[in-house]
């Protein structure tokens, strides 16, 4: 985890990519607005009227940002590969955590997620890991479901427990 590589994607590349991505988003907005109708209808401007100009502004602003990004050439790195690996080591498990939530419920997913995070990224002893991984969902249950009466997603395990 402490491995440091000096190379990484250039900041310029990401900057250009971001401007393009936002520009495409603007085009999607324009497309959607045209479908909803951008003209003047019986009850005034139609649904796509306002978003159309918003989309057009996004495209124009992105074009200018793209132009700026193109000219900018300071050879700055966006981040080192090692750093990006760290970021991905959070994004990927979080995606799995979030994706599994509808099926196994929030509590079980949280327990596994916290345990994974602490054990593999944090390098904690099993005892600490298990204590936090089980303690947090239990506390959550008490505070949210019991005290504030906010229901959270549950899966087969909670059903089996009869909660």
């Amino acid at each position: 985890m402490t491995e440091r590589s000096e190379s990484g994607p250039a900041h310029k590349t990401l900057e250009i990519g971001m401007a393009l991505l936002i520009g495409v988003f603007g085009l999607v907005v324009i497309f959607g607005s045209v479908k909803a109708g951008i003209s003047w209808g019986a009850e005034g401007p139609r649904a796509g009227f306002f978003p159309f100009y918003v989309g057009a502004t996004i495209v124009v602003a992105s074009a200018i940002n793209l132009w700026h990004a193109q000219r900018d050439d300071d050879g700055r790195l966006f981040a080192e590969w090692g750093q990006l690996r760290q970021v991905m080591s959070v994004v990927v498990p979080t995606a799995i955590y979030v994706g599994s939530m509808p099926f196994i419920g929030l509590y079980v997913a949280s327990t596994v997620f916290i345990a994974w995070f602490m054990r593999w990224l944090g390098g904690y002893r099993w005892l600490t890991t298990v204590a936090v991984a089980i303690g947090m969902p239990v506390l959550t249950y008490l505070v949210f479901e019991r005290w504030f009466l906010v229901p959270l997603p549950k899966g087969p395990f909670e059903e089996w427990l009869g909660l």
Binding site: W40, A47, F49, F50, V54, V91, T94, F117
Partner: protein, 499 residues
Amino acid sequence: MEELANLFHGFAVALQPYNIMLMIIGITLGVIIGVLPGLGGANGVAILLPLTFSMPPTSAIIMLSCIYWGALFGGAITSILFNIPGEPWSVATTFDGYPMAQQGKPGEALTAAFTSSFVGALFAVIMITLVAPLVAGFALRFGPAEKFAVYFLAFCSFVGLSKEPPFKTIAAMMMGFALAAVGLDSITGQLRLTFGVTELLNGFDFLIAVIGLFGIGEILLTMEEGLAFRGGNASINLRVVLHTWRELPAYWMTSLRSCLIGCWMGVTPAGATPASFMSYGIAKRLARRGNNFGKGEIEGVIAPETAAHAAGTAALLPMLSLGVPGSPTAAVLLGGLLIWGLQPGPMLFVEQKEFVWGLIASMYLGNLAGLIVVLTCVPIFAAILRVPFGIIAPLILVLCAIGAYSVHNSTFDVMLMLVFGVLGYLLKKCNYPLAPLVLAIVLGDKAEESFRQSLLGSQGSLGVFFSNGLVSTIMALGLVALFWSAIQEGYSRLRTSMA
């Protein structure tokens, strides 16, 4: 003196035992949120908002606004003790606060920071008490065109005042407007921009965006940087506090100036972060010992803290009186009003007197309670920060997921939150500002509604936005704000060519 009577009535509301309890809980949670990296004022309030759905609105806003005050106080603790700004607005506090702590004066630095925060907030609250009813009364006469002009001014100020490149600010802001437009069109009842996805029928909820952009995005940034703690111990005792308090009045000029900068930057939606930097910069230029700034000068702690807290508090003035929040956190509070069934804007002062004045009174009390809590509990809060990030990070991620889910009881929202998180990380790295994006999501529908209503009245002519003195003035101010950086550049060029 009707306001004074209202205010006293507000104090009676805020002093109910239940509300005082919520106030203390709110402050404590807020300080914890402010101390922890990855949990900030805006997304902290957003995560806890669902807990308040069942409370009476006045109690709910008291608790949530106290979380906000707590977060404002909390940011200073980590800046001074660990050189890690817990919040963006405390970055400027690290410049002199951390050196002071290194020189064995953490108690003085913390006392100065907390006291200045309190002074800044108090100044802003007094201003709100005096000015908000007037602004609201004035705004009651606003038609759709004036309303749109106010939104226009607010968003143009972002472009002109933020330190990010103007076209990036515009791009981020317009993305917010586009996201707000998704779903059912409130005027024609027509669906738009959903592209057949049923989950998008109700559009994007800004709370999800806040939790993702600020919460998850911040965690990802922290993961990249990697945290190393080299913090000293914090101890504050009464002697140090009293000793520092005796020193502080000498800097009244700095305080006053910072209060004014803070209030100005808070009301125009520039926010607490630029206010703190600006105040620090000006103090450095004007102070007698300005050369010593950055080496542990107490004035360098007073200036940014006063301004940040004044700005954070003043941001509630336009939120209450016009329905235009001055900061992302104020935007989340405004979202709360809508959820509790209150219509933000000038009518609040007429229809919901108890709510408005209860909130204003709680600002006085909450900041006082905050000052006492942070002065007495600093060691405890500093200890929280020693809990390693490997434990804190997954817990915050889980909390974010819970918060995102409980907004609409939807797991789709949780996935959306992660998407916003990654987007927030990329946007921040590429220097796009997030605050205008969030504000645009919150205000998008209202801005569009007033825009279309104005055009409807004028049969589609844009002249309606310059049809009378009031609306023209606001629009003109907006245009000045929009082109502010260009105007400044032109002016300085003119000066150099003259010289």
